[in-house]
Symmetry: C2
Subunit: 374 residues, 2 copies
Amino acid sequence: DSEKVLDDISHRRYNPLRGSWILVSPHRTKRPWKGQEESPAKEELPVYDPNCYLCPGNKRAQGDSNPQYEKPFIFVNDYSAVKEVQADYSTPDQDGGLANRLLRAEPVTGKCYVVTFSPAHNRTLADMSAAEILPIVETWTSIYTAHLSPNSPLAKVAPTTTLPPHGHTDVTTPNAQYKYMQIFENKGAAMGCSNPHPHGQIWTVTGMPEEPALEMEQMLKYRKEQGGVHMLEEYAILEASTQERVVYENSAFLVVCPWWATWPFETMIIAKTHKRALVDFNQQDRELLADAISVLTNKYDALFDTSFPYSMGIHQAPLEGTDDEIEASYFHMHFYPPLLRSATVRKFLVGYELLAEAQRDITPEQAADRLRKL
Amino acid sequence: DSEKVLDDISHRRYNPLRGSWILVSPHRTKRPWKGQEESPAKEELPVYDPNCYLCPGNKRAQGDSNPQYEKPFIFVNDYSAVKEVQADYSTPDQDGGLANRLLRAEPVTGKCYVVTFSPAHNRTLADMSAAEILPIVETWTSIYTAHLSPNSPLAKVAPTTTLPPHGHTDVTTPNAQYKYMQIFENKGAAMGCSNPHPHGQIWTVTGMPEEPALEMEQMLKYRKEQGGVHMLEEYAILEASTQERVVYENSAFLVVCPWWATWPFETMIIAKTHKRALVDFNQQDRELLADAISVLTNKYDALFDTSFPYSMGIHQAPLEGTDDEIEASYFHMHFYPPLLRSATVRKFLVGYELLAEAQRDITPEQAADRLRKL
Ligand SMILES: O=P(O)(O)O[C@H]1O[C@H](CO)[C@@H](O)[C@H](O)[C@H]1O
Ligand SMILES: O=P(O)(O)O[C@H]1O[C@H](CO)[C@@H](O)[C@H](O)[C@H]1O
């Protein structure tokens, strides 16, 4: 079939979610690798590490002590990239507008959190069952709910429960109405993670960040051009029908190596039917999302028999937006893992990729096939 | 002044060349680093390495032997990401157009070259004088000239010299008229370079790649809105007047940490007056470009007293384009170095950066100040 032809030729694929292209060079994997090797994660970590600032009971950088938590524990990041309160700034008007055009800046405020996934220092999502991941999904839902604009149509459906008992008091109503909440995890030293204790982050900011803004623009355009259908709902149906790029599915979610994947084993978890955000899920949906995350991360670890590094995160409705924007939002998760050939050989997105265009060496079909079979 | 305020607050800066934003969190450098450390380049390399496929006289992967070259040596990449000849492909029309919308692909052909910078295995641009870098600039100019569309207005000004004597016969007229030539270098293991022998690459492709396409769109728009002026010419004048982000300048080029830099010590080399491409340079311009590259790479090595990794490359006019596109093109080079704090601690552009928005921890003014003083 058509995709097999693509196994042997260089081509570009179009990413309709970002409106951008990526270069695919499948024959290039034959290239021998003599460059940098990653050190795979040390296997033997203790359940509790007295020097870890995330373990229960330990002291953190700014002096606070963690409670003896048993469920996901959430607190304000001690080194937040954005703060709730800071000095004002506006671009100075000078040089007859030249600086206004070329030296533009706008202030950003917001709130950053850390969420531990487990009290055990030596676990990762990949070793956790769906039942163990469920409280994390619940915590994400609660914190998203706590930051939703009261004017959002989503505020009406948001679960009335605020933070579950395993939450921490740091999550109070924020000072201001923020625009977007980015929930994400950096896993593994190769993805800039500096502490193996299983945890994710949540950055909440005043402006709509670049990536969700790009996706929003594309999704709005698609809905308009295609008479109201959702791009990702159509995409999920298309992928489920051919199965060529499907890694796993349950009744609510599809795990797929997208047609336009950039990273070698990049995947998306896509809601099969339209969900705007975590608050649109019922209890079964949350369980099925936990199941999809559990199966996918487990497959990742099995692929190269290593604790598989990645950055992952949730794209969903902004905390505040027009009715059109909220309605066009479509819950999905991206997983961006760097490894290409083994536990130690990664893909570098460098010269050509940074200066000209993203480039990959294996097809998404080949990647999906390997992950599916595990 | 205004930029000092920005040393203490989180803000976004606008990149007018890409039409995108970046988050700046200057206070975040206080964060201690316990994550992955890079291994600095081993200092002691031999002048000649019998196992290096780039050293003069040695055998390459596909069996060819390198000549005993003394000046930059150029040959077709043995593992090219694109090829001149391959099978045809067009997106199959199926599923009532759904695949046409969501599974789009287009074939890419082209030609990839490798250019050695020196016969010596153990040198880098940072240890080379402007006079030693000049032949590299000449080689880039020649190969660009050899691939120019005869219909381009640039073909009229292109130097009549074809490849200098130090060129290699592999650079023949290509099979087809390609659209864009990306000249770049990945330096150092941290930037995916697998051989320390000083070399760069040249990928020439049929479609206009994402990054130069984005820049072209923005530059055309700026020219139209501002009555025919060039964005980068205005930007160079503005930066030269305040000197706040200037690292170095000579009479033809400005080296600057751009207002919108993403990587901690990212720089651009910008032509001070409008040059569309390498072929617009005279002999003195080429010498001054070699001088700017020499000074900048030398400062980079001095910054953390290490062989400083980076990816760098040239953005200039496409090989083929409308008269408007060629005229709006503006020669500049980007340097993207990953190091943040020392020879071993880099900046990771991971979770938030991949999923939401690029983020940096020091201001470009702070970076420029350090580089300027070296
Ligand atoms: O071509 P090289 O040097 O073997 O490979 C390097 O540069 C290429 C172009 O930026 C990248 O695609 C590769 O991931 C990187 O390792
Ligand atoms: O916040 P952390 O885990 O210390 O830091 C990590 O994630 C951040 C968000 O993606 C990045 O900006 C940092 O470069 C990375 O090292």
